[in-house]
Symmetry: C2
Subunit: 331 residues, 2 copies
């Protein structure tokens, strides 16, 4: 900017005025400055400006998701980007990988970069360490999973209700021996889904002693192996409830390998790409990652626009989509 001022033969403040579109610059002056800036390929340093600027906004949001390569995360990211982009705010995304160390590293990276707001999926048991940052005025919204030890905005799916709906669906089709395939129990949503499943069985008066509940299933391959093991066991289940998208894909593979896809029912939590094109189509309790992302971003901007209300939890409903795999009756 100094160089631009020198080349245009004007004071540095005038350049600043022109670049930022401030009033009180003559048209001739403005043209001269713009020409100089152009010929030097000048691009203002946003961070340097923010250092002195009053509100100190960086027009940047930090986003922490499960993994940027997971379709759920991708859809959420996209929705957030759309809301933020409309306001000229850029989004900075990191993958959590369900690793508490990455949670800390990513958030620390966000904080050091002075993001205007944070949208976080977390895995640690407690997010109390963010309370000072929240008090300082940085809007923080937790998505997908509820945080611990902090009062902030939260946007989540109705995990327990969705899991209960899936369970009810299988029960209604005559299943009693329903296997539950759950993620790592340190993950808040995994516990919620398991709770919804067990409570629904309880309401139906089904003894859970006979129901295989397998937790710690975290990825596709584990889902496949667990499904095969269940099918090969002495009392195989007549239905499977896989409580996460990667597990569902693994379960589909496992059922195929034992040629059980048309005899053992399957309902998944969270939708899976092309689920409707499989044979049978995969019945799922679909989440709405786009809506979760949109809402989260709206909350951030509401806070930035001055909303000082206490933290609220927004529950986005799930939606059971029957496609065939969940409508089979036990043999």
């Amino acid at each position: 900017m100094k160089n631009v001022a020198a080349l245009a033969g004007v004071g540095i403040k005038t350049v600043s005025r022109v670049i930022n579109g401030e009033p009180n610059v003559s048209a001739a002056m403005s043209a001269r400055v713009l020409a100089a800036a152009d010929s030097l390929h000048f691009s203002p340093d946003l961070h340097a400006g923010n250092l002195r600027r009053g509100n100190g906004r960086s027009n940047t949001l930090g986003l922490l998701v499960g993994s940027v390569s997971n379709p759920f995360s991708g859809a959420m990211h996209r929705a957030i980007e759309d809301v933020a982009g409309a306001r000229g705010v850029a989004v900075f995304a990191s993958s959590l990988d369900d690793d508490p160390a990455r949670e800390e590293a990513a958030i620390s990276a966000f904080l050091r970069r002075r993001m205007d707001g944070l949208i976080l999926t977390t895995v640690s048991q407690n997010q109390g360490y963010l309370v000072p940052e929240l008090r300082r005025g940085t809007p923080i919204v937790f998505v997908d999973r509820e945080p611990g030890g902090i009062d902030a905005d939260v946007v989540v799916s109705d995990n327990a209700a969705g899991a209960a709906a899936a369970t009810r669906h299988l029960l209604a089709h005559g299943h009693r021996r329903i296997a539950f395939l759950g993620d790592r129990i340190d993950i808040q949503t995994a516990r919620e889904r398991q709770r919804g499943f067990l409570e629904e069985l309880g309401r139906a008066g089904v003894a859970t002693v006979d129901v295989p509940v397998i937790t710690g299933v975290h990825d596709e391959e584990a889902g496949r192996l667990v499904t095969i093991a269940l099918l090969d066991s002495e009392h195989p289940p007549t239905a499977v409830f896989s409580s996460q998208n990667l597990i569902t894909i693994g379960a589909v593979r496992g059922l195929r390998e034992r040629n059980a896809q048309h005899s053992v029912a399957l309902v998944g939590f969270d939708d899976v790409p092309l689920a409707d094109l499989l044979d049978p189509g995969v019945t799922v309790v679909a989440q709405n990652p786009h809506e979760i992302g949109r809402l989260a971003a709206e909350r951030i901007f509401a806070r930035l626009d001055g909303d000082r209300s206490v933290g609220n939890t927004y529950v986005v409903p799930t939606n059971l989509i029957a496609r065939g795999s969940g409508e089979m009756r036990p043999k």
Copy 2:
């Protein structure tokens, strides 16, 4: 930092030393500063530091992809994040949406934030406007699509060769009337794939006058509609080559709707989630987005580490995966 120094009763430079892990600080001093920083929830301002720091690195990379919700982009993003993360560098991703205006806006946002390097998917016909930035020393790698008017590192799939392989595969299975479903022709890879397709037909001596070449097919719904129109036409093709992942999904849907999935062959360019679980499995020319991302990130860091060689083009091979849909013979 000033506050930390005051609270600890030391000079500001000592705090700086402790925070940055510089040598020449006594253990007692270090502990006192750390305690003060902790009690004030101090987090250093990375950008303020970079303003004065010699190399001025922001430890941030800008990434522009098709859409953060596309699986190809997601896989690439993830690979880049993994390489960058290992070096303590964060990644900032934006969606291009094949819109030249977004290309300009996103790159301008990157530049204003002084990213250390840029990994770009572009859609404008010419990227000459980035030459000054490249000369200034900002490493820029173009991924997925080759840029115009600039000499820089490029990492792409072998689009023409992959398309030729797909075409050869269909020809070898007896097809002559092969429909080509192409993306918008302003997209460089779309042109390359079309070229590979037509050249392979030429090598095989197949007259292209009889071959339906449909371009401008950009999304899933367009792919579906075009496929149905082809099947309903007077001389329906015996095989379809869909040259992009969303188009392929649309084509699968179209074939299903006309119950032609077991009679009309299909090969897609770029892999599709769960393609192996469909009936028939979808034969594709798979790209390697993970490898493209990894290589691109490696190039950025090589440049940051001092590599001053001229721009190079890295071609990542494609891989034809036969799963059933591409191995059907014409009726």
